[in-house]
């Protein structure tokens, strides 16, 4: 396939109009010994029909969550996406546009971001939101980065090991800057050890972090941590799961300064881990320190309500080498999907989805117990929990053989997630296999 519309004779006319003979003349500024002699060593080109078959074959060699019920969560959730979201995302005015630098022909995209920002503020109970980040993990790293760039010279981040392990890995990489010291505090019984975290808070502490629900699905009680870190003039950062916020206490209600999270459950397909979006919201006082793009409301010359990228002094265009963050392209189309998702399921729908997930998890706990299995942690959970398992890998293999995508393998347990897409029957089958009632 070629997507170059000019046939060779037109290209030749264009070359002639410039007094050139061949396409090679266009590369006279590159020394010959730097040019590829034989061309790239890549497989031959494919026509569209051939390509379609080829991609279909590749896809057929995977087992998708459309075929097998999926009990994996651990930071990415198999949720239902309304058909309207999928359809509208295919409007190519949206997906073939670039960042809305020219507001006069980008009002649709700017307004959609403004609406997204508003919805994220409503969900998190915060005052301001940016236009999105890469994902939950990098959003948390940027939040910690912001806390350390507050100008007070504080650099200590106190974080429990009950936060998603990949988020911790990302934080480790971001701390290569030397501006951030990450102190990971071991948890207790699947929850953050709040006393141990509080004991670490000092006048060097930039922020304390918790994830809600945490990596193991357990609900963290951040009340005392919030008071302690604020008493020491540090920031309280929460990483939260957006669907659960329909019923769980919002970061704003917990007293958080920054709320971040993985936005994938809001209308993004699992897609082997991306593209997703990170959301990033904060209290008003931090607005001018937020990373990434922000859309603001203003007026045009005629006084008409309009939207525009604003507060750009924070970004890399202006104070190039002083910018607190380098983020430029974000996940705009995923943020559009998130806004659409919230519009199509609505206030009541989101609550129903959240409650259904909780309900199925409670039912699953009962079934686990009847199957003779035990939860790893005796802690309150929302929609995900770990079940003790002597050989989790073997358990997953057995599940797979029975047409089920199992859980996330912990050392001595399987972490299982229950979204609204799961059914009572699927849960019954899950525990029939795990409880040994189904043969290999």
């Amino acid at each position: 396939m070629k997507y170059t519309p000019n046939p060779p004779w037109v290209a030749q006319d264009m070359l002639n109009s410039m007094g050139l003979n061949s396409l090679d003349d266009l590369f006279d500024d590159i020394k010959d010994d730097l040019k590829l002699k034989k061309g790239l060593n890549l497989p031959p080109a494919m026509g569209e029909m051939e390509l379609r078959r080829y991609m279909k074959d590749l896809a057929a060699r995977n087992i998708s969550t459309e075929e097998y019920p999926c009990f994996l969560g651990a930071g990415a959730y198999d949720r239902y996406i309304p058909a309207a979201v999928e359809q509208l995302l295919l409007r190519s005015e949206f997906y073939t546009a670039y960042t809305p630098y020219q507001p006069e022909i980008s009002q649709g995209i700017l307004q959609s971001i403004f609406e997204y920002q508003t919805m994220i503020c409503k969900l998190t109970g915060m005052d301001v939101s940016n236009a999105s980040m890469y994902d939950g993990g990098s959003a948390l790293a940027e939040a910690c980065n912001l806390a350390c760039n507050s100008g007070k010279g504080r650099r200590k981040i106190i974080i429990p090991d009950t936060v998603h392990p990949e988020y911790l890995k990302i934080l480790q990489a971001y701390s290569l800057s030397g501006r951030m010291e990450v102190l990971v505090v071991p948890g207790r019984e699947g929850a953050a050890d709040i006393d141990a975290m509080i004991a670490e808070i000092d006048d060097q502490t930039a922020a304390a972090v918790i994830q809600q629900p945490n990596f193991f699905g357990v609900l963290e009680n951040g009340e005392r941590l919030e008071r302690a870190v604020h008493a020491n003039k540090g920031l309280f950062i929460m990483a939260v799961e957006p669907v659960s916020l329909a019923v769980l206490k919002s970061p704003g209600e917990w007293g958080a300064d920054i709320a971040v999270g993985e936005g994938q459950p809001l209308g993004c397909s699992l897609s082997l881990g991306g593209p997703y979006l990170g959301f990033f919201a904060a209290r008003r006082e931090l607005m001018r320190k937020l990373p990434g793009r922000i859309v603001g409301e203003t007026t045009d010359l005629d006084g008409k309500r309009s939207y525009v990228l604003t507060l750009q002094a924070r970004e890399q265009h202006i104070r190039r080498e002083k910018a607190g963050s380098n983020i430029c392209s974000n996940e705009a189309l995923c943020a559009l999907a998130a806004g659409m998702y919230l519009a199509f399921v609505g206030e009541e729908g989101l609550k129903e989805i959240a409650l259904r997930s909780h309900q199925l998890a409670l039912y699953a706990e009962e079934q686990a117990k009847s199957a003779g299995l035990e939860l790893k942690y005796q802690q309150p959970y929302f929609m995900e929990f770990a079940v003790k398992m002597s050989d989790p890998a073997a358990a997953n293999r057995k599940l797979l053989a029975n047409g089920i995508i199992g859980g996330y393998q912990l050392e001595d347990a399987l972490l299982l997630a229950f979204t609204e897409k799961r059914s009572r029957d699927e849960i019954d089958r899950l525990f029939a296999v795990l409880g040994g009632k189904v043969d290999e």
Partner: protein, 483 residues
């Protein structure tokens, strides 16, 4: 005035519902302690499906993408995004995969991922690739982390500075700062290329590396690239390739052969994945052999005809992003490369360079072109010829282009050219389309002399006129509040 979705709702009009669970609905006030529960409802939109569909359709009609028309936004490579790739990324066998599924259940996806690592290495002349970064700036960040980790691993702690040309993208200095480097700016010479004397005088054992875009942001190939590489390497630094402009050389020359140690590429530029209104992108990073140990975890490897993840990389910088990167974007870029093959990529590059040079020739009579010589995929003009006597600026020309139905070029960048307009037609524009644009530009040049008010007040035909940006920044309103 277009209403916000919050201004359209009718309580009770949304009819989304789930199938029956066949279970008793527990009272969450009984199943969870009250401390965990929300008191104030989030107050999300309550709108019917049909009205929400109309809302977003209306928003799309006030957006402008490559499918609407010519989009010569310099340095952004707004080429056509083939439709088959959109289809491919949405096949359930690729789109409905959980990132923690066992490798044996995702062999097709891992093969694609593995081959993409290899293909990008071949295209850029590198020895290995991570596909994890989510965007160009994210790739830069991973690249600069690798540079830092490399020097620290050598016990070389004195390298606290990063060199960046004055023509660089703003993300280069911002990235270097973010990873804790002091930024040193290298000057451009009068030909718009790196000033070798300035580079030599600033290069020393405190410098970790040089971040370079080639072709640079003026659209010019750094002809002395081998000398630049030698200067950086002799002083122990690393040479980083910002791949934003790879479309100007892809299939013709490779950064790896020019002396670069590591690169990032933008799948959403060179490899046609759509820009999505500002993302998702994908910014894979490739390295030469001496930097392989520092790549983020995991990489996909092939062992006995099986594909799997390799996490056992003790010197790795860790992770830059959850999971494995923007897989959905990688699928589209992979399909694009499969469709084109090596020859097709070269053809794309040649046509991109042909189109840019053709437009430069056609515009030189009416517009000032500060560096008017053979360019690669893009070139810079400015409004110098239009400035007198009516004070027409580059912004006025850009806004007037909107009235003619075009997305304006990149404006006021690069910073080293005053009133710059950066034009990148890409290879997917036909001569007819470019001739129409050229005619519009010529007409605007005429208007600048004869009817300047048409430019000064532009746009006239857009859904809004120019916006008050100062007001937006001074009294920021960044979310909707119920009246």
């Amino acid at each position: 005035m277009s209403k916000l979705i919050f201004e359209k709702g009718v309580k009770g009009s949304n009819s989304f519902s789930l199938p029956e669970a066949g279970l008793a609905q527990p009272d969450i006030n009984q199943t969870l302690p009250p401390i965990f529960l929300r008191h104030q409802a989030p107050d999300l939109p309550q709108i019917s499906e049909v009205e929400a569909v109309r809302h977003y359709t209306e928003l799309s009609q006030r957006a402008y993408g490559v499918d609407n028309g010519f989009y010569p936004l310099g340095s952004c490579t707004m080429k056509y995004s083939p439709k088959i790739n959109e289809w491919a990324a949405r096949i359930p066998g690729l789109a409905a995969l959980h990132p923690y599924q066992a490798p044996e259940t995702i062999q097709g996806a891992l093969q694609l991922y593995y081959e993409m690592q290899e293909i990008l290495a071949e295209i850029t002349g590198m020895d290995g690739f991570t596909l994890q970064p989510a965007a160009g700036a994210h790739g830069e960040m991973v690249g600069v982390m690798i540079i830092k980790a490399y020097h620290l691993n050598n016990g070389d702690k004195a390298r606290t500075k990063m060199m960046v040309p004055d023509s660089a993208h703003g993300t280069n200095p911002a990235t270097a700062n973010m990873i804790g480097f002091d930024v040193i700016e290298v000057k451009s010479n009068p030909r718009g290329l790196v000033d070798l004397d300035d580079l030599k005088s600033k290069m020393n054992e405190e410098v970790a590396g040089l971040m370079l875009t080639n072709p640079n942001t003026l659209g010019l190939f750094e002809e002395e690239i081998e000398d630049i590489a030698a200067i950086v390497h002799e002083a122990g630094g690393l040479l980083y390739y910002d791949g934003a402009n790879l479309n100007g050389v892809v299939g013709v020359a490779r950064p790896g052969d020019m002396g670069f140690d590591l690169v990032h590429v933008n799948l959403h530029k060179t490899f046609s994945t759509p820009h999505g209104g500002g993302g998702p992108g994908s910014g894979p990073v490739g390295v030469k052999a001496h930097l392989l140990p520092f790549l983020p975890i995991p990489l996909v490897v092939k062992k006995e005809e099986q594909y799997t993840f390799d996490y056992d990389r003790p010197l790795s910088i860790g992770k830059a992003k959850n999971f494995y990167g923007n897989f959905g974007v990688i699928v589209k870029a992979y399909a694009y490369i499969k469709a084109l093959g090596g020859e097709g990529l070269k053809d794309a590059c040649q046509n991109a360079v042909l189109n840019a040079n053709y437009m430069r020739h056609q515009l030189r009579e009416d517009y000032n072109i500060p560096l008017d010589r053979l360019c690669k995929h893009e070139f810079i003009i400015n409004s110098k010829k239009q400035a007198d006597p009516h004070g027409i600026s580059t912004m006025d020309i850009a806004k007037r282009l909107i009235d003619y139905g075009y997305h304006p070029p990149t404006v006021y960048f690069p910073l080293i050219i005053s009133e710059a307009m950066m034009i990148e037609p890409t290879e997917t524009e036909s001569k007819e389309r470019m001739d129409d644009f050229i005619a519009a530009m010529k007409s605007i040049a005429k208007e600048a002399k004869e009817t300047p008010e048409l430019l000064l007040g532009a746009p006239h035909n857009a859904v809004i006129r120019r916006v008050d940006e100062v007001k937006a920044a001074r009294k920021p309103v960044v979310k909707w509040e119920a009246p």
